[in-house]
Symmetry: C2
Subunit: 335 residues, 2 copies
Amino acid sequence: MVVTMQDVAARAGVSVKTVSNVVNDYPYIRPATRARVEEAIAALGYQVNVAARNLRQGRTGMIGLALPELRVPYFAELADSVMRAAEAQGLVLLIEQTGSVGEHEAEVLHGPRRRFTDGLLFSPVAMDPRDHPELDVDYPLVLLGERVFDAGVDHVTMANVEGARAATSHLVERGCRHIAVIGVHPGEAMGSAALRFDGYLQAVRAAGREFNPRHAGVAQRWVRSTGAVAMAQVLDSGVPVDGVFAMNDALALGALHVLHSRGLRVPDDVAVIGFDNIDDTEYSEPPLSSIDPGREQIADQAVGLLVARIAGSTAPPRQVVADFALVERESTAPV
Amino acid sequence: MVVTMQDVAARAGVSVKTVSNVVNDYPYIRPATRARVEEAIAALGYQVNVAARNLRQGRTGMIGLALPELRVPYFAELADSVMRAAEAQGLVLLIEQTGSVGEHEAEVLHGPRRRFTDGLLFSPVAMDPRDHPELDVDYPLVLLGERVFDAGVDHVTMANVEGARAATSHLVERGCRHIAVIGVHPGEAMGSAALRFDGYLQAVRAAGREFNPRHAGVAQRWVRSTGAVAMAQVLDSGVPVDGVFAMNDALALGALHVLHSRGLRVPDDVAVIGFDNIDDTEYSEPPLSSIDPGREQIADQAVGLLVARIAGSTAPPRQVVADFALVERESTAPV
């Protein structure tokens, strides 16, 4: 038999409204009353009907997470972290894939699924600054990633420039003199590729070297296959290479594959470092050094900001940058 | 201004009910009436309110997918496939993680989130046959995976025994005489581990060999780290090994790592094959042969069966086994 709020009220000798107030954690309830209601809840084994409560409050208890592609390991791991962070707040997470397509991103922002969610965590890839008006929505929204700045909404991001600079400097300190960069988006002024390239350039110049354009491996998508193609392109140009900074780990894994197939030893002949610190890095051959961009922190902060907005916060938009860490593994070990 | 069904009805000169019938694609509408309504819809730019329609029909237009762990590549790729299959049916997918914990699996089946979904695709890991009563639910349910049989509900699975036998026979045909099996669950009579072990045994015996228990590498979880430990355990037992059948690709990648670190060349000294054909297999060192279990087919069939149940199908429960394929890559190439 299902225990109702009426049963609790009867046992505690209070009104249903009072039980509701206790359950919903309203202030201004006398401690003795609260204790009596809590005793009745415990004795009867009453369980709060979350769905019904959410309906009364005009909420669904669900938040959305829109990301480019779930089968990209970084996003699968981010989804896992966000799901756990949401669960810790009693929220259900609805994951949506945009496939990095602009129309899908607009559909995520304005489509019918937004009626199911109390707020949205959105990691845009295709949008650019001209799309800011798209972000003017009537529900709580928190942006993830690098793609849109100053959009007037909360934004959680990672230290792209600093992380890329640290990765490249790590190669420099290890003695690398000819450092390739994999994942370049030529002509793009914003987004992860532009920021991480900037960090790479800063480190190369800080080491007193010139940037050689033949060291730039172009890859629009950041997956293993494109990393392999970009690495091959750099090697085929004939430029010497003794270090590789790949803009993400998937690119680095593709690059490793090409280096092996060319008979180049890692780290003996070429040291390689990636970015994201996905699970794969521990089990590649050799294990891959990487930049840990603070994924758990990103998930916790993003959910926290969204929960505050759902609760009605009107604070000015915040931009949070997660802490990064350099994780050294065999692929950059001293020879 | 939002165009309503009333506006459409007024312009078309029909009742709201008629507009609703056209929108919901009911039969028995006169072609001329349908044309008039469709003209009005186009002229006014009326958009069907999916959420409202679903509410009227007592549906949410959302289906659930409960799986063990999103950061396990096989499940991330399955989630991607199911999301696309659901989208093709106009359905939104709600992904839930159980963490392979029995209580979480029960909570998925009976928890409040089921109010959001019209049906559930459920990949149980912790449940066993005694939990069949748990599966007696009042909403459409389709099982995925190997864990529960004859539960009286639709079930989409893969050819575990046949796939494992084909993988092991492939090693035999390549000339391997000492084939280890990685991922064994001792004492377990059901589930993927028992089925794939059975396929391995069949192939070993068909080759006229005895099974050597020292060839069995135990791994409860099927991730890279446990694959590495199990591979090391087999090698440390001193038994000769010239072939490895890993019960999934993650285990195989962990095993590869240990083989490399022991100075064993793949495929020259030891040939390795996995199971699942995840994206990683193409970019491991060397690329990994694997069994493709038909993930797209599993996703399409599962969503199709669930959609039929949501539409009211009372057909007897079906069990669908997806087609598998042996994918040969360098890790089992002839030397």
